[in-house]
Amino acid sequence: MDVLVLCAKTALACLLIVAGGAKLSDPASFASAVRLFIPFRVSWPLLSATAVGISLGELGVGLASLTLPAITALNALVFAIACAFVAVSAVGYAFHRGRSCRCFGALSQRRFDAAGVLRSAVIAGVAAVALAHVGGAALQLGATARTLLFAAAGILAVAAFTAARVRGTRNEPGPEVAAQ
């Protein structure tokens, strides 16, 4: 059971790191997705800053969750973020169906659709599993192990950033032609 919970926890941490890193590679594109959820006029710099803030937030929570496993509050935070994913997917499906969600920057070509809501629900389910209690001994990490994990997570973020940048400049699908 502990292995399952820890798998869920680390998988979500990796997911957040990859999503944050990938989004940071093309914040302008992610900002255009963020704009869909803001009902009033917002200046572009503010929108862009919001997009970067969300990306950095995801990245930060992922890094913290991976390197500080003993802090159980982070599990709750990750679960809250997963619930936010569900809400965003549902609202996107309801009001912006077919538009690109930029959930993983240019790494993913996913759009707001029913499958996206289901995927978000699965992520929330995994986050709920990660909330389960795990014995303290399993989470004991030394300073060296913590540093190495942090370094690996950082490399993962850079790898996601680079991969998204390559894909973003070469292989993105165009914006869909849809009457607004």
């Binding site: 292995v3 820890l6 798998c7 680390t10 998988a11 941490a13 990796c14 790191i17 990859v18 093309d26 914040p27 302008a28 594109s29 900002a31 255009s32 704009r35 006029r41 917002v42 200046s43 572009w44 710099p45 929108l47 862009s48 997009a51 970067v52 991976l66 496993p69 240019a106 790494l107 795990v134 001994a137 399993a138 989470l139 004991q140 990490l141 192990a145 994990l149 690996a152 997570a153 490399i155 993962l156 790898a159 996601a160 680079t162 991969a163 390559v166 894909r167 973003g168 400049t169 070469r170 292989n171 993105e172 699908p173 165009g174 914006p175 869909e176 032609v177 849809a178 009457a179 607004q180």
Partner: protein, 212 residues
């Protein structure tokens, strides 16, 4: 020495994540090796449906969503302030606009450069035409704007009627006529495309967040 369970799980999970990213990168590298940009089409295909796009309008610094096919013909110019040929095109567009030859058209200058770059060009600084910055890198891909200037004529139904590099006033006039072709007319006006005057990789200069 006993390894904590969490560390063991985290190692495998990180390895898995790295593996996935590696597959993504290698798959993309494979595509790049098979696809040479030089063979990529320049400009959107004539007769195709023009894609919608988002841009940041310089005049009021707001994000705008352009939806071709909403009943208004559009003359779209992909230009860069640092490109001399683009300056000529902007001047030609300005002249045509001043003479009322572009009435009924929505004329939009799109660039990948930030607003501050407009200062380097007298033509861009002085133009009264709507000008904005492309937000998504995908836009240049979809429109095939691999070099500038590129002028695209879109009719009221959102169909691309002409797409080619253009500099001269006569070319601008031809494009404006292409925009106003009746919707039931299946063919587009053939406009001889001169070789791109300025190789300017719009993708490389894709906007960075908050650079304005």
């Amino acid at each position: 020495m006993k390894v904590p369970l969490y560390l063991a799980v985290a190692q495998w999970m990180l390895l898995f994540a790295f593996g996935l990213l590696l597959i993504v990168v290698f798959r993309q590298l494979g595509r790049l090796l098979h696809k040479d940009d030089a063979t990529a089409p320049f400009g959107p295909a004539m007769g195709s449906k023009a894609a919608s796009l988002e841009y940041s309008r310089f005049a009021d610094n707001t994000v705008q969503y352009l939806t071709p096919g909403d009943g208004q013909p559009i003359l779209l110019a992909f230009v860069e302030p640092t490109c001399p040929s683009c300056e000529q095109l902007v001047l030609a567009l300005g002249t045509a606009e001043h003479a009322g030859e572009l009435s009924g058209l929505r004329v939009l200058l799109l660039t990948s450069s930030p607003k501050s770059y407009l200062k380097v060009s007298d033509a861009f600084r002085a133009t009264r035409l709507e000008c904005g910055r492309i937000l998504a890198q995908a836009t240049t891909q979809v429109y095939g704007a691999t070099s500038t200037p590129l002028l695209v004529a879109i009719d009221r139904d959102g169909v691309v009627r002409a797409a080619a590099p253009a500099i001269q006033l006569a070319e601008v006039r031809a494009f404006s006529r292409a925009c106003l072709l009746p919707p039931d007319k299946g063919e587009s006006i053939p406009i001889t495309a001169a070789a791109p005057q300025h190789e300017n990789d719009l993708e490389a200069a894709a906007p960075a967040a908050g650079a304005d």
